[in-house]
């Protein structure tokens, strides 16, 4: 019985961890590229959940169907954020950079509250529903699909960054933007691309979450916190670091919830963060 519980906790932690990882990698990618922490990351997650919700509520499209549309929308927003805001603060003091994304977060969240009210909404009867049983272990189908889609997105991202010419240019820009500019890489466009990909990742995660979580203006906050923890653990700018840290957080949260107390699960995750930060201030795989 307790082994079942353990396996159950591990499986659900792993699936949630994959979602956290995808949220975190967007944050990490943007930071690695231009050393800007996107404090509006959770708000973009919230936006993509709302987009999925409205596609379903207004057009009857399931989140799985509208996924490409949501990703495209967030990618466009990402590019707009870069050209409208980030480009102007790239050389500003760090305080201005932090406050700018902060201000953006505040504006998006309160805008959502204003236009969509603080109500909790949910998508009923999504395509992926119910749960499946494999020898006594129950797995929610939406969670399973969400985890797998996020894993797939992660693999696509990794292949893109490490195997394509544009991806390599992206990496070069992250390592040394001046040197990259000298060899003819359009760094500004790389930054915009980074924002598009970063928010695209968030969009995948958000769309998947919308089929089994409530959608409301503050929904992104907790995910953003976990993403910060993941990125701080995995190392800012490290893609694989985000994956490992995301999964680790999902597992710690789930196991802590089962074996210690569900109401302390975020504290347990934060304690893990403090323990790591005390000994490795720049994360386990940090390259800075």
């Amino acid at each position: 019985m307790s082994t079942d519980l353990l396996i159950q906790a591990i499986v659900s932690g792993l699936l949630m961890g994959l979602i956290y990882a995808l949220v975190a990698v967007g944050l990490s990618l943007i930071f690695g590229l231009m050393e800007i922490v996107n404090f509006a990351h959770g708000e973009f997650l919230m936006l993509s959940m709302f987009f999925s919700f409205w596609f379903w509520a207004l057009l009857g499209l399931d989140p799985l169907v509208s996924l490409p549309l949501v990703v495209a929308a967030l990618a466009v927003i990402g590019v707009a954020v870069h050209y409208g805001i980030i480009r102007h603060i790239l050389h500003a003091p760090m305080l201005a950079q932090i406050c700018a994304t902060f201000g953006l977060a505040l504006a998006i969240r309160s805008g959502a509250q204003l236009f969509w009210t603080p109500d909790f909404r949910s998508i009923t009867n999504p395509l992926s529903e119910g749960r499946i049983e494999i020898s006594g272990i129950f797995i929610g189908q939406p969670q399973l699909i969400a985890g797998l889609v996020c894993l797939a997105a992660f693999i696509v991202l990794w292949l893109f960054v490490s195997r394509t010419e544009t991806g390599l240019a992206l990496q070069a820009t992250a390592q040394d933007r001046d040197a990259a500019a000298i060899v003819g890489i359009p760094t500004d466009r790389m930054f915009a691309l980074g924002w598009a990909i970063g928010l695209g990742c968030v969009a995948v995660a958000g769309a998947m979450l919308s089929s089994f979580l409530f959608v409301f203006p503050d929904v992104g906050v907790n995910f953003a916190l976990l993403a910060f923890v993941a990125v701080a653990l995995g190392g800012f700018g490290s893609i694989m670091g985000s994956l490992y840290a995301g999964i680790a957080i999902g597992l710690v949260e789930s196991l802590g919830g089962v074996f210690i107390s569900p109401s302390y699960k975020s504290l347990i995750v934060f304690s893990l963060y403090f323990a790591v930060v005390l000994f490795r201030p720049k994360g386990i795989l940090g390259r800075y």
Binding site: I85, G103, L106, L114, V221, P281
Partner: protein, 343 residues
């Protein structure tokens, strides 16, 4: 030899160490203090008193953030934890053992300073974003702990029983907001005077040096970590004082109210809007943002909370893009240079 004539040196020595502010500025300052002192008698509406009290309170909070971030360059996103500690310390002492909040104020400040040291010693090694994220997570952890801590009321918090006999002992005033007005005015004045002194002290100048060029500061024998920890302790104590005042003002506190992340955000936004690192920036930021939020709450009713935050967000975004040094900085620099040239 490249030595300047001694006459020039003698002349320079005759300058005051701190150039006096221009007379126009002094007169304006005195006029402002006088206006604030008589304000409650000119505008007698309770709501206008409330708005002013909120401005004073938030100016203290913004100033607290300013000490750690504006003066020593470490961006804290967890200031709410000191606010909460201050509120809880005095409320708890009063409710459990009948200790006057005046003493609670000092206890809260001391606890906050100690907690700031405990947090600062390991985390102030972290530069920039790492410190910001660490304080963000620590602040939220405090909120979670207080939400679950039964001994101090957990999520329902602390309710201070109404007491009308000895208002200055229990620091509760029910008939009028006037005492709260002058209390917050006084606390705010003390906070700003402290920072004014700090800026003119060895510690304050060294903090600015650490903020601007840590390595150069080190090369002059300045212990960077120690100075930042001291700044964080001062900042924490200041925030705690604001927390105690708030607890006495509302008389009901709970973790979501006094440890809320929004408090950290507000402190930061006001200081940045007015001008981080300047003495008066935090006051200016509070004086702009508080009326905005209090009046929008009236105009827009229940959803006002979202309208003001929306405006805050957009404002701060614009400030960061167009004038990252804050609104006040242009004025002060001009005044300061004019003052020095008029010697």
């Amino acid at each position: 030899m490249a030595r300047a004539p001694d006459a020039a040196l003698e002349q320079a020595r005759a300058d005051p160490v701190w150039p006096a502010a221009p007379r126009a500025f002094k007169i304006m300052g005195l006029a402002l203090v006088a206006a604030l002192a008589v304000f409650p008698f000119v505008f007698t509406g309770t709501f206008s008193h409330h708005v002013m009290i909120m401005i004073f309170l938030h100016a203290i909070m913004a100033q607290s953030w300013n000490v750690i971030a504006g003066m020593s360059g470490q961006i804290s996103l967890g200031q709410a934890l000191f606010f909460g500690l201050g509120a809880y310390a005095s409320a708890f002492l009063y409710v459990k053992w009948g200790i006057t909040p005046w003493l609670g104020l000092l206890v809260g400040m001391a606890i906050s300073a100690l907690v700031a040291a405990a947090i600062g010693i390991p985390t102030l090694r972290l530069r920039g974003h790492y410190f910001a994220i660490a304080t963000l997570i620590i602040g939220i952890s405090f909120q979670i702990v207080f939400q679950r801590w039964e001994w101090i009321g957990a999520a329902s918090g602390i309710f201070m029983p109404i007491e009308r006999e000895t208002p200055w002992f229990s620091l509760q005033f029910h008939a009028t907001k006037l005492p709260y007005y002058y209390l917050s005015f006084g606390l705010c004045a003390i906070a700003f005077f402290t920072v004014w002194l700090l800026q003119r002290s060895r510690l304050g100048m060294r903090l600015l040096a650490v903020r601007d060029e840590p390595e150069a500061a080190q090369s002059l024998g300045i212990d960077i970590a120690w100075h930042k920890v001291i700044a964080f302790m001062i900042s924490g104590a200041m925030m705690a004082a604001a927390g105690t005042f708030f607890a006495q003002y509302v008389l009901v506190i709970d973790p979501d109210r006094v440890f809320s992340f929004e408090i950290s955000v507000l402190a930061l936004l006001m200081a940045v809007l007015g001008g981080a690192g300047t003495l008066w920036g935090p006051a200016l930021g509070a004086a702009i943002l508080i009326p905005l939020s209090e009046y929008s709450r009236i105009w827009f009713g229940g959803t006002g909370g979202a309208v003001d935050l929306l405006i805050y967000g957009v404002l701060i975004l614009l400030i960061c893009i167009y004038q990252p040094r804050g609104l006040l900085v242009l004025v002060t620099e001009r005044l300061r240079r004019r003052g020095q040239r008029n010697e």
